[in-house]
């Protein structure tokens, strides 16, 4: 079926403005991705999954300008013992990064991996391709084709400390495209941390292949730059008895779209995806989640909380798909917003599609203001109104933050939330 002319023009213009990296094992997957992209076309507002989020600024050729924001806070995760990998506007910064070696894993850079044979050859773009059905994710295909760099992480054992990808934003017009592949062997375990605004516009894909009994922990903090834009995708496949736990905190940002596509392919696997976002004013945040249960006795949780004020917009599109043979599925989905004034809005589209007959799936979505009863109770005990409101806001976000297993990492996230609230206390 031919694409509408406008969509084709949009797609071809964008492709023409980018350079396809060549050389080595990734040539094949990149060429395939380019074909996929041309067939799908870049998203427009007419697309089902872009009704609530305008894709224009993410697809147009020119990068919308984004001022670099200088915060006064200590960078997040600074207290954590970790291996740092730094990118500035999507360009690897060797001087700022640690030596890329750590027991239990190997790290290579996509940009310098030029051999013809590589383990990542069978994975790069593979999970992304699977994630294109039944919902198209053209920005991810664009990423697979044109990513300039990224990390190829092969985890073979239990890794003693987290790997922290730090994305600095240095130029007002930077347009970064990064693609990471993480492959966890059976029994392996790692924690991946990500933070920073990355660029004026950031397109990132992370494919995570979690083999049987492996465990992957992910904690991400999308930084404070107000004008930054980001479209990120996580594609994960889970083997039996494996676990995937991802949490994202988003603070500010004029446009953030986070897609997370997970396929539970082995029995008894666990996938938890959680997010907390705090937005003030010109803020648009979209979480689009798709979890497919294709095995027996798996558990999935989607916990998303949004605090919105001064006209900020939050979007949640979350789906649980339970295939015919995925019996004993335990699925949970909650999306809630705390609207701190009448100008903010929350648009939620929870979806369940269940073909198995022996499953437990629950979902809920709410929007509300601060609980007046709770507020009065706290104030009657001497807690001033501003502080009481903050305490209730933190409490509102707690269910999402509690999805982080590691207490020290949860503390880091809570400190960011508290900082954001404190700066806005009236």
């Amino acid at each position: 079926m031919a694409l509408p002319q406008a969509k084709r023009d949009l797609t071809e213009d964008r492709i023409a403005a980018l350079t396809l990296p060549t050389g080595g094992w990734s040539d094949g997957p990149r060429a395939d991705a380019l074909t996929r992209l041309r067939l799908m076309g870049l998203p427009t507002r007419r697309d089902e999954y872009w009704k609530y989020t305008r894709p224009d600024s993410l697809t147009q050729v020119e990068t919308p300008k984004a001022a670099v924001f200088e915060g006064e806070e200590t960078p997040i995760f600074d207290e954590i013992d970790r291996l740092k990998v730094v990118f500035v506007d999507g360009v690897f910064d060797a001087d700022a990064s640690d030596d890329l070696s750590l027991e239990g894993l190997s790290i290579e850079r996509l940009a310098t991996s030029r051999a013809d044979i590589h383990w990542a050859k069978d994975l790069y773009g593979r999970l992304e391709t699977n994630g294109q059905t039944p919902v198209n994710r053209p920005l991810a295909a664009l990423n697979t084709a044109f990513a300039t760099d990224g990390l190829l992480i092969h985890v073979t054992g239990k890794v003693s400390k987290p790997v922290n990808l730090i994305y600095h934003h240095g130029s007002e017009t930077s347009d970064a495209i990064l693609h990471h592949v993480v492959k966890l062997d059976a029994g392996a375990e790692m924690t991946l941390l990500e933070n920073g605004p990355a660029a004026a516009r950031f397109n990132k894909v992370m494919e995570v292949d979690v083999a049987d009994t492996a465990r992957f922990h992910h904690v991400r903090a999308q930084g404070r730059d107000y004008e930054r834009r980001a479209a990120t995708h996580i594609f994960a496949r889970l083997g039996s008895e494996s676990a995937f736990k991802s949490f994202t905190l988003t603070v500010n940002g004029v446009m953030t779209r986070n897609d997370c596509v997970i396929e539970l392919t082995g029995d008894d696997a666990i996938a938890h995806v959680a997010g907390a976002c705090v937005g003030d004013g010109d803020f648009h945040h979209d979480d689009t989640i798709f979890i497919t249960h294709d095995a027996v006795n798996c558990e999935s949780r989607q916990v998303f909380k949004k605090v919105l004020r001064n006209g900020a917009t939050g979007v949640f599109q979350g789906k649980i798909l339970v295939k015919k043979d995925a019996q004993k599925t335990d699925g949970y989905q909650i999306s809630q917003s705390l609207l701190l004034d009448g100008d903010s809005q929350f648009l939620a589209k929870p979806e369940l599609e269940i073909y198995a007959d022996d499953v437990a799936c629950s979902h809920g979505s709410t929007s509300g203001a601060i609980d007046e009863e709770g507020l009065f109770y706290l104030r009657s005990r001497g807690v001033p109104e501003g502080q009481a409101t903050d305490l209730l806001t933190i409490a509102f976000l707690a269910e999402a933050v509690m999805e982080i297993e590691d207490a020290a990492l949860a503390d880091e996230i809570n400190a960011r939330i508290e900082g954001w609230l404190l700066r806005r206390r009236s």
């Binding site: 009065f376 009657s380 005990r381 001497g382 001033p384 009481a388 269910e399």
Partner: protein
């Protein structure tokens, strides 16, 4: 300590007068009880004094140690020494009981220009107080009042009272939803806090709480006014004859 003069209060949202001229003085070191039938305005009085929204004072005054209560925010009233033990303590999911109490204690101290309590000092204090009220460490860690039984919620109110060391305590239907054992535990907690410098206003529908917390003065409230004041024997009269006699007698 607490001085209420000719207090008239109506609902903000509708034209309904609830309090129609309440006069009441609670002295330091004394326990006053307010009894009365449902809808007489007892709870409204406690809410107006603690600063809950939704009420409008149309006439009269209320002062705590000479300071105008009605002009203060709820948190300022608390810092000035007022404490209300809620009839229905509010559940606050996500906020740990301990965090909540420490925030409250230090917010009040800060408001009064006092030094904040250190965490060691606070822990020592709360453990001792909690033990007296048979509140275990688990209850201190749990979110405020979430999943607490009726008795646990009321004991938690008394724990807050003990930690905040208010000058004037108002107990709103603290006996509601309590069995005899739980009521005794709560009453013991309150009695332990009775002191020279502290006033109590115990609001209750039934006399039984007053068996455990012996009042110095008993007031009967009806239709927004205090219609009779007497000693502890007045509570017994209510127990035996109900409110009807007293209310008609005065009307």
């Amino acid at each position: 300590m607490l001085e209420i003069k000719n207090l008239h209060v109506k609902l903000e949202e509708e034209d309904k007068q609830i309090l129609k001229g309440v006069n009441l003085t609670v002295e330091a070191g004394k326990v006053h009880a307010i009894m009365g039938p449902n809808g007489s305005g007892k709870s409204t009085l406690s809410y107006v004094l603690s600063g809950r929204e939704g009420y409008e004072v149309t006439e009269g005054s209320a002062t705590l140690l000479g300071e105008d209560l009605l002009d203060m925010e709820p948190e300022e009233r608390a810092a000035a020494g007022l404490f209300l033990a809620f009839q229905y303590p509010v559940e606050i999911p996500g906020v740990g009981n301990m965090t909540f109490l420490r925030t409250a204690v230090n917010a009040q101290r800060k408001a009064r220009g006092e030094e904040e309590m250190s965490s060691t000092e606070f822990l020592k204090e709360i453990r001792a107080r909690a033990k007296d009220l048979k509140i275990d460490a688990e209850m201190l860690k749990r979110p405020v009042n979430v999943g607490f039984s009726g008795g646990e919620k009321k004991r938690n109110e008394i724990l807050q009272m003990a930690m905040l060391e208010p000058k004037m305590c108002i107990l709103d239907e603290t006996d509601s939803g309590l069995d005899v054992d739980a009521m005794k535990l709560v009453a013991d907690g309150v009695n332990a806090l009775r002191s020279e410098g502290r006033g109590f206003l115990v609001i209750t529908h039934y006399q039984r709480l007053l068996d455990h917390i012996q009042p110095d003065v008993v007031h009967i409230m009806s239709d927004g006014r205090i219609v009779k004041t007497g000693g502890p024997e007045l509570a017994l009269e209510v127990e035996n004859n109900g409110y009807a006699d007293i209310v008609t007698e005065e009307a």
